[in-house]
């Protein structure tokens, strides 16, 4: 493989994983923006989406069924979690981190019990490759990118142009004043949490045909979406999407030159230093 073709491949792969990352990080950013909590269990929704997608596809033979059912199932679970765990602790930031850390291990270990330690893949719903001048590229990955793009646009439209979106933005600006104006903020919280979980789950579903479903895949996803959200700025949909592609491309290009572990070390350091230099303003202190 020549260097150019390697580079093109890295950029393509980076774009595809950028789309996945954008879906997932948008969910995290939305939940943080509206509810002002850091959901450490966000990666587990991603993992659950992937595992359910494998399970549904294997049981019914239809990947389309998984695309529809798995995110809805995870959203239902998120609504239950919001009611049983987050509301009793009143979304207090410190207690939420502790509780969602607990959920991280609960969901991960339950999956280990029910699904097992194996990594399993689903055959892509449409095979074949598209011939580029340098190499053939899997057609499914392009479809994946298109579906993710549509979902990102839909989320943007939801936040910008619907009553629910208006209420979310009002709650994000000032929950007390929003409530004084009759915004049912608990329902808004529930909707935001479910939507965030659903986006992560959808990312998980879409990724199963190209990457295997495994009970430990959530943590990596979580750390990557932390990076994206920190680099892109919270609450900004555009910033999140741009940062997702940046992280995707950097990860892709860095893995030409370094081992994945070294690339990940460098990325984690950069993100930590960005947070340090910006004095935590991103997480709302100032």
């Amino acid at each position: 493989m020549t260097f150019v073709s390697q580079l093109v491949l890295a950029l393509l792969e980076g774009t595809v994983s950028g789309f996945i990352l954008a879906l997932m990080s948008l969910g995290l950013s939305l939940v943080f923006g509206v509810m002002r909590i850091v959901n450490v269990a966000h990666g587990e929704f991603f993992m659950l989406g992937a595992v359910l997608a494998w399970w549904i596809t294997t049981a019914t033979g239809s990947f389309l069924a998984a695309v529809i059912v798995a995110p809805l199932a995870v959203m239902g679970m998120a609504i239950a979690i919001e009611r049983v765990v987050l509301r009793p602790i009143r979304y207090s930031p410190g207690a939420t981190i502790v509780a969602t850390l607990g959920l991280l291990y609960l969901l991960q270990q339950m999956t280990l019990m029910l699904y097992g330690p194996e990594a399993r893949a689903v055959t892509p719903p449409l095979g074949g490759t598209i011939e580029l001048p340098w190499f053939g590229y899997a057609r499914y990955k392009l479809v994946l990118a298109a579906v993710a793009a549509v979902l990102l646009l839909a989320t943007w439209g939801l936040v910008r142009a619907t009553t629910l979106g208006l209420r979310m933005r009002a709650t994000q600006q000032d929950p007390e004043i929003a409530q004084a104006f009759g915004v049912p903020i608990h329902r808004v919280y529930r909707a935001a949490f479910a939507l965030g979980a659903g986006l992560a789950a959808m990312a998980g579903v879409l990724v199963v045909p190209v990457q295997q479903a495994h009970y430990l895949m959530g943590l990596d996803g979580l750390l990557l979406s932390f990076m994206v959200v920190i680099l892109g700025g919270l609450g900004s949909i555009g910033g999140t999407v741009i940062a997702s592609f940046l992280v995707g491309w950097i990860d892709g290009i860095a893995s030409i030159f370094f081992t994945p572990t070294v690339a990940r070390i460098a990325a984690s350091l950069v993100v930590a230093l960005v947070l340090v230099v910006r004095g935590g303003g991103l997480f709302g202190e100032s």
Partner: protein
């Protein structure tokens, strides 16, 4: 009304004495378990200094434990260092790391501090993995057979003898406990607590938060590293599992479960969790479910009890 100094000291010395006597009645299996509990309690005491008294929730403390672990284990494995020197080297490694990470991460507070420490913790974990040729990554290094016994005068204490392990772990815990007790009651400790309770007001009184928090981070990291170094020497094993996220989450759980800002608390938290995990691991391979369940229950069931320390204004986002 603060509890008088003398009754606090009596309580702690009483607990340490009870732990000292415990070794004569414990069967061998539990002696080893409690030795582990003592080391992890030392780790928890170090963590508690930052969380309970400093109000700072680190999610990357495993890096300090691991710095102590590797700082002590690698010289033994590769250079044949003696136990005393290895322990000091582990302690120094964790102090250096804490000085550096503290200087950077303490520019943030609240949730951002948690995320920054989590990222640094992840960096350190990945470093132990990527230096595979030296550390053997997850597989780890076994120190057994390379470790000289400790010599005190004419006594020769082999580190693989259960009672030697137990008493050295207890000695470390006792030292650490008394030092932190003294520290949190010193003027330094009072400023630290004042900063936790009301940063603005403390600033107005003329205290700069940074040096106090940095020193707290240094001591906290150093104690965690000492626990790690002792773990490497007493259990003859060094592996990157101890640098992973789980070992950053566990001290948080131990301290919150037992009660932040108390001394007996971490001991109870560690003992409970160590046994819970041990028993769960006999039943299922998904034994960490116990950790998850306890974390959720602690967050829901003891919101104010734990939060007392956490609920200072920097735990609220604006």
């Amino acid at each position: 009304m603060p509890t008088p100094w003398r009754s606090i000291l009596t309580l702690h010395l009483g607990i340490l004495a009870a732990l000292g006597l415990l070794q004569f009645v414990l069967p061998p299996f539990h002696l080893a378990m409690i030795t582990r509990v003592l080391l992890f309690t030392t780790y928890a005491v170090g963590y508690n200094l930052l969380l309970g008294y400093g109000g700072l929730m680190s999610l990357g403390h495993a890096m300090f434990f691991a710095a102590g672990l590797y700082g002590a284990g690698l010289p033994v494995y590769y250079l044949g260092a003696g136990p005393g020197l290895a322990f000091l080297s582990g302690l120094m490694a964790s102090l250096l790391l804490a000085a550096l990470v503290g200087a950077l991460s303490l520019r943030t507070t609240g949730v951002a501090f948690s995320i920054v420490t989590m990222m640094f913790g992840q960096v350190c974990y990945l470093v132990t993995i990527s230096l595979n040729r030296i550390t053997l990554g997850d597989q780890g290094l076994v120190l057994a057979g390379r470790l000289a016994p400790v010599r005190v005068g004419n006594w020769i204490l082999p580190l693989n003898a259960p009672s030697v392990r137990y008493n050295l772990a207890l000695l470390l815990l006792a030292t650490v406990l008394l030092v932190t007790l003294w520290l949190v009651r010193s003027p330094f400790g009072r400023v630290l607590v004042a900063l936790r309770e009301h940063e603005e007001r403390t600033r107005l009184l003329g205290y700069d938060p940074f040096p106090y928090r940095w020193l707290a981070m240094l001591v906290s990291g150093g104690i965690s590293g000492a626990a790690g170094a002792a773990y490497a020497l007493l259990f003859s094993y060094v592996g990157s599992a101890f640098a992973a996220v789980l070992y950053s989450i566990l001290p948080l759980l131990w301290v919150l479960l037992g009660g932040a800002g108390t001394t007996l608390g971490p001991l109870i938290g560690v003992a409970f969790m160590t046994y819970a995990v041990e028993f769960a691991s006999r039943v299922t391979s998904a034994y960490l479910v116990v950790v998850g369940l306890t974390l959720v229950l602690v967050a829901i069931g003891l919101p104010r009890g734990i939060a007392g320390g956490l609920r200072g204004r920097w735990w609220w986002l604006p």
